[in-house]
Structures are given as structure tokens and as C-alpha cells.
Amino acid sequence: MDIPVSLALPVLTAACGYWILKKNMSTHTHDTHTNDAHSHEDAHHDNVRLFLGVFLALCVLTTMSFLTYFDFWRNHVPTEVSRAFMMAVSCTKAMLVIMFFMHLKWEANWKWVLTVPASIMSALLILALVPDVGLRMRNASHERMKYAAEVPADEEAAHAEDHKPSAPHNEQPAAKNKAA
């Protein structure tokens, strides 16, 4: 059940994107065709129609990420999948806003000079944080476990082993070995 649901929505997203792209392409050809003053009004109307199309797509995408909140979704889609899905939806929305509302689609090549370095810096920053996430997600050090609010399910067994009342205290607890 979860596979059709998680497949159907990205397909819907793609359809939305295709629709907008098609609309936009028709606007573009219209612009290049007629450069005389009379077409100005038409181009304006097409622009407004395009922006409304983007707006509709953004609303649909917001609704799609909000779907993950409902019990039906939670019961049928694994958490990791819905997180990846939400991020994909957010990136799609961001691209729509940047391309159409911020006019980057129609700008000259200078746009790369400003956006690419900033994106690289941000990507590097995120990548630099990845080891932290990777190391801290599943395993915690003995020191952290001692002061943790709740023992996560994965560690509970190892923790219980470590704190057996009869066994002598182990200087190298299992949780720490796993993290190292």
C-alpha cells in the first residue's frame, strides 16, 4: 500500500512541473515572436497567468507535504521516505520561487556568478556537518548516556547490560565501542 502512495505523489509533482514548464515555454515563444509594441499587453497577461500557475503549483506542493501529517500517511509510509519526500517537495518549491518569482530564469549569465559560489559554500557547510549527524545518530557515548533524558530503544539493551547490578563495572561500555 505504501509504495503506490509514495510513488503517486512524486509523479503528481512531476506532472505539475511539466505543466508549468509547458505554459512557460508558450510564453517564451510568444515573447520572441512579437517584439512590437502591441504585444506588450499580451505578454503582461501571459506573465500574470504564468505567475498564477506557479502559485497554484506552490499551493498543491504545500498540501502534498502537509499530507504527511495525517495518520493514513504515517501508517503507510516509512518515516525516512516521507522525510525525503518532504525535502524533495521543498526543493521543488524553492526552485519554482527562485526561477519564476525571483526572475532568475530570464536573467543573463551573471546569475551563476552569484548563486553558484553561495550554493557551493552552503553545500560544503552541510557536508561538513554530515559526520556529526552520522556519528551521533545511532550511538551515544557513555558520558552522554549517563545524562540523557531517555534511553533510546537501540541502546537500551546495551545500557542494561552495562548496568547489571551483579557484574563488575565495565570501563569500556558496549555503547562506546559501537560509536568508536
Partner: protein, 331 residues
């Protein structure tokens, strides 16, 4: 003798083929991208590195308001674009109308944000002391915190010269709770190795501030089991069964109590939530100030560049919220 004919022609060649204002705005936005990438990246590390993290309903976070705010910001992005289109057509009054609508939508966003913040503050969820009532664990420190607060209430109530019927009732509630803290502490002292004392404190914390994640979103259930722990919980009697997904504990039943609450991971959640949404709200406020300046101008074709720059900034604010909404409300 026509010097003018042979005078060298120095054409101004800008480094980027765009107005200086726009180039500056884009440079500024690229630094802003890095600023928010840092904040969001740190949030992700802290959130997924945390041993415990509260669910949204544990901390009175309502997804529907986050979604509404997303919708409001998307609408305001569209109205900025329409104002720009109107200015391009030299339709000053139209542009001003769209700009006014944008400003109002920005105010709506801030209004919803304030309402959301208030829902946290009224339950003692603050990012820092002295207002924060959050404890992380049901341990002796939590019991001590509850006892200190109860003793303060008791002293105040007993020192009152003219006691009303209500004061006597309050005193009864305080004494009853003090007995429960005593029982938990006695159990802890007498049998430090057994779970009994800790379970008593856990149950007390659950009566004071029942967490939705523990009760599995079933507010009607008076008996709930925490799946991964041996604790059998007996929830407080709920006056109103459903309160927007939140449960009614002693702190809600008797708002004057303001007892410490136990939310595992709650402090880190409050710090990251208020930092991220606070910086975003600050950007919204700056945008609103820019809109006020724009509204005092004539928004004809000459103002096109200014509207475009403010618009770029506003779209960026929208962009940040597009990522914050799922990360904070739905993850």
C-alpha cells in the same frame, strides 16, 4: 578644431550587466543563503543527534498553523510579483494596492507567529531561564523543583490573612501533590536500585504535563502504556477530552500552579525552534519596514528597480520558510 569630435569615448562598463542595487541585493542574499544554511544544518545535527526529541504535540506545536503560514507567505510572494508587473505597466495605483496587500499578509504571518509563540509561553516552554519550566528527566532534581514550587505556593497561601474558600481548596491541592512528591522521594531513598521511585516521579510528571507522544494521540485513554518502557501511566482526569491534540494536565487544570514540566529533549527543542523561527520572524519584520517605505513612494515605472529589490528579499524570506515548515513541524 573640433575637439569634441575626437574626444575619446569612455563607456561605463559595469562588471555585472545589472543595476548596482540589484547586484548588491543578490550579493546580500547569497550571504543570507549561507547564514540560514548554517542555522538549518546545525538544527539537523542537534535534532538527529539528540537522544530524545519531543513530538510536535508534546510542545504545543500545531501543524495546521505552520501550513497556514506557508500559504500566507506564498500568497504574499505572488502579490509582490503582481505589484512589480503593475509597476512595469506604469500602473502606480495598482502596484500600491498589491503592495498594501503584501504588507497585510506579512502582518498576518507575524500575527499567527505571535499566537503560536504564546501557546508555548503559556505552558512554560521558553528557550531559557528564568521563565522556562522544562526539565529533561523524571529524576530527583525534577522532584526537587516540583517541591520547591509547591512549598512556595503553600507558604503564600498559609500567610494570607483572609483565606477564602478558593484558597483552602488550593491549599488542599498543594498538600495532596506534596504527599505524592514525598511518597516518590521516600521510595527513591529506601530502594535506590528499584524502579519504583522513578516510576512514581514519572507518573507525577505525567499528571502535571501529560505528553501527547506518550499517550499516543488518544486523549480519551486514561490508561496508556509507553511502548519502549515498563512504565504504566495513569493520566489525569481530562476535563476537555480534545484540546487541539494536546492533553490537559494539572498545569492546565490549575493554571496558578505553574509546576515544572518534564519534556525529554525539550530544552534543545525550545532553543532551536525559537532561534530558527525568531531569525526568520526578524527577517519578516525587516521586510515589513521596507514595504512601509515603498508604500510612501509613487510606484510607477521609475520605482521598478526598488520594488524588484524588495521583492527579491521578500521571496528569499518565503524561501527560508518553505524549508523551515517541514523541518520544524512535520519531521
Amino acid at each position: 578644431m573640433s575637439d569634441t569630435h575626437h574626444a575619446p569615448q569612455f563607456d561605463y562598463q559595469p562588471a555585472l550587466p545589472i543595476p548596482n542595487g540589484k547586484a548588491f541585493m543578490w550579493l546580500f542574499l547569497s550571504t543570507e543563503i549561507m547564514f540560514f544554511a548554517g542555522l538549518i544544518g546545525t538544527y539537523i545535527v542537534l535534532r538527529f543527534g539528540a537522544v530524545a526529541w519531543p513530538s510536535t504535540h508534546d510542545v504545543h506545536l500545531a501543524e495546521i498553523w505552520g501550513a497556514t503560514n506557508t500559504f500566507v507567505l506564498i500568497c504574499s510572494s505572488v502579490t509582490v510579483v503582481l505589484a512589480l508587473e503593475a509597476a512595469k505597466k506604469n500602473n502606480a495605483s495598482g502596484a500600491k494596492g498589491w503592495m498594501l496587500l503584501t504588507f497585510l499578509l506579512g502582518l498576518v504571518f507575524l500575527g499567527i507567529k505571535m499566537y503560536e509563540y504564546n501557546a508555548k509561553f503559556s505552558h512554560g516552554i521558553y528557550p531559557q531561564l528564568p521563565h522556562s519550566l522544562i526539565y529533561e528527566k523524571p529524576d530527583v532534581y525534577y522532584a526537587q523543583g516540583v517541591r520547591t514550587k509547591l512549598m512556595k505556593h503553600k507558604a503564600e497561601l498559609e500567610n494570607k490573612t483572609d483565606k477564602t474558600e478558593e484558597d483552602t481548596q488550593k491549599l488542599g491541592v498543594v498538600d495532596d501533590l506534596l504527599r505524592q512528591v514525598d511518597a516518590a522521594e521516600v521510595a527513591l531513598r529506601n530502594e535506590p536500585d528499584s524502579l519504583a521511585g522513578r516510576i512514581k516521579i514519572y507518573e507525577l510528571a505525567d499528571r502535571i504535563y501529560p505528553r501527547a507522544s506518550v499517550h499516543e494521540h488518544r486523549p480519551d485513554a486514561s490508561h496508556a502504556t509507553h511502548e519502549s518502557s515498563p512504565f504504566q501511566l495513569v493520566a489525569a482526569q481530562h476535563e476537555s477530552a480534545h484540546n487541539g491534540g494536546h492533553l490537559v494536565g494539572l498545569n492546565d487544570k490549575y493554571p496558578w500552579l505553574e509546576l515544572p514540566i518534564m519534556i525529554p529533549g525539550g530544552n534543545m527543542w525550545a532553543s532551536t525552534y525559537f532561534l530558527l523561527t525568531g531569525f526568520h520572524a526578524l527577517h519578516v519584520v525587516v521586510g515589513l519596514i521596507a514595504f512601509v517605505f515603498l508604500l510612501s513612494m509613487t510606484l510607477d515605472r521609475a520605482a521598478y528597480g526598488t520594488i524588484e529589490n524588495v521583492g527579491l528579499y521578500w521571496h528569499f524570506v518565503d524561501l527560508v520558510w518553505i524549508f523551515l515548515f517541514p523541518l520544524l513541524y512535520l519531521f
